[in-house]
């Protein structure tokens, strides 16, 4: 199963429609389950719900073979933590999908680091979907402990004054 998710806050019809068109014309050997948020476009070729509760979201995430989503940090992080191949399409300001283009910047960076596949425009999507199955994401190594230690040291100093 491929899990398609665009978050629950803002519509992202461009991504849902492109995936729908792809499945309509090429077919797919796997089913797609989609969380489409406020998107108004209703896909013809797979089932979609507006929002999933946390438990169901986690279940879809776990059971999926791969994920297609917007370049939202929440989804990217969850996919990486679960070792799932992820294809993102960044939301764009010019299409009114978001207030700035930070999703493009993070997608570019994570693509360079081998964490995700990226379709910057709808025309890129079909090829990237074909690559997704065999894509092995590079595991992300973050340093939350080191950052927390730096902050703790700073706070301890303030508290000891």
């Amino acid at each position: 199963m491929i899990f398609l998710t665009v978050g629950t806050q803002f519509p992202f019809d461009r991504l849902i429609k492109t995936v729908d068109d792809f499945v309509g014309s090429n077919g797919l050997d796997e089913e797609i389950c989609a969380q489409i948020g406020d998107s108004t476009y209703q896909p013809q070729n797979f089932k979609a719900v507006a929002s999933l509760d946390k438990n169901l979201f986690d279940k879809y995430l776990r059971e999926s073979s791969c994920i297609i989503s917007h370049a939202g940090m929440g989804t990217i992080t969850m996919a990486l933590e679960n070792g799932k191949p992820l294809l993102v399409m960044p939301r764009r300001k010019i299409y009114g999908e978001v207030v700035n283009d930070h999703q493009v910047a993070i997608a570019k960076k994570y693509e360079q680091l081998g964490h995700v596949l990226v379709a910057y425009e709808t025309v890129d999507l079909p090829d990237k979907i074909k690559q997704l199955k065999s894509f092995v994401p590079h595991k992300r190594e973050a340093q939350p402990k080191a950052v927390a230690k730096r902050i703790k040291g700073f706070i301890d100093k303030i508290a000891d004054v």
Binding site: M73, K109, A142, V147, R150, I151
Partner: protein, 153 residues
């Protein structure tokens, strides 16, 4: 025994607060309260003390900004924190400025999504922050008085 200082944790719901929660080791054992933007996360954050929900806003909706600002003023002047830790965005930025007015120390961790340049909130808070951390080493070259220790997520 730790000295009694009160820490205000503040982050918008979603990616911003999940980044802040990764840093929970830094305030363990201290008195904290949380300022966030939507009710959905209230329960999850309640382990960090009292949770205040001030609403979502961005610069495209000036009226909402004012409403959120008024709520932030009430919270910050009521609680009078000694330290503020924030990962953004707009509401976190307001809390930092208000806290600074009352003499609080400000710690800002710029979001992982700010790769090439810092967020508007981050660029503003940089001028008043006592500790300013970024999550990409490239940003240290671009901005003064910012520090890179590592990425949070």
């Amino acid at each position: 025994m730790l000295n009694r200082i009160k820490i205000c944790l503040t982050a918008s719901a979603g990616g911003h607060s999940s980044q802040l929660l990764k840093l929970a080791d830094s305030w363990v054992g201290r008195e904290t309260f949380f300022v966030t933007t939507t009710e959905v996360v209230r329960e999850r954050l309640s382990v960090f003390g009292k949770v205040y929900v001030v609403g979502e806003c961005n610069r495209e909706h000036p009226l909402r900004v004012i409403r959120v600002l008024v709520r932030c003023i009430k919270v910050v002047f009521g609680e009078r924190p000694d330290v503020i830790i924030s990962t953004g965005a707009a509401a976190g930025c307001m809390v930092c400025f208000l806290g600074k007015l009352l003499g609080a120390k400000v710690i800002w961790i710029d979001s992982i999504t700010n790769v090439e340049k810092m967020s508007l909130s981050g660029r503003m808070v940089r001028h008043i922050a006592d500790l300013f951390l970024v999550q990409w080493p490239e940003l240290v070259e671009r901005y003064k008085n910012v520090e890179y220790v590592g990425a949070v997520i």
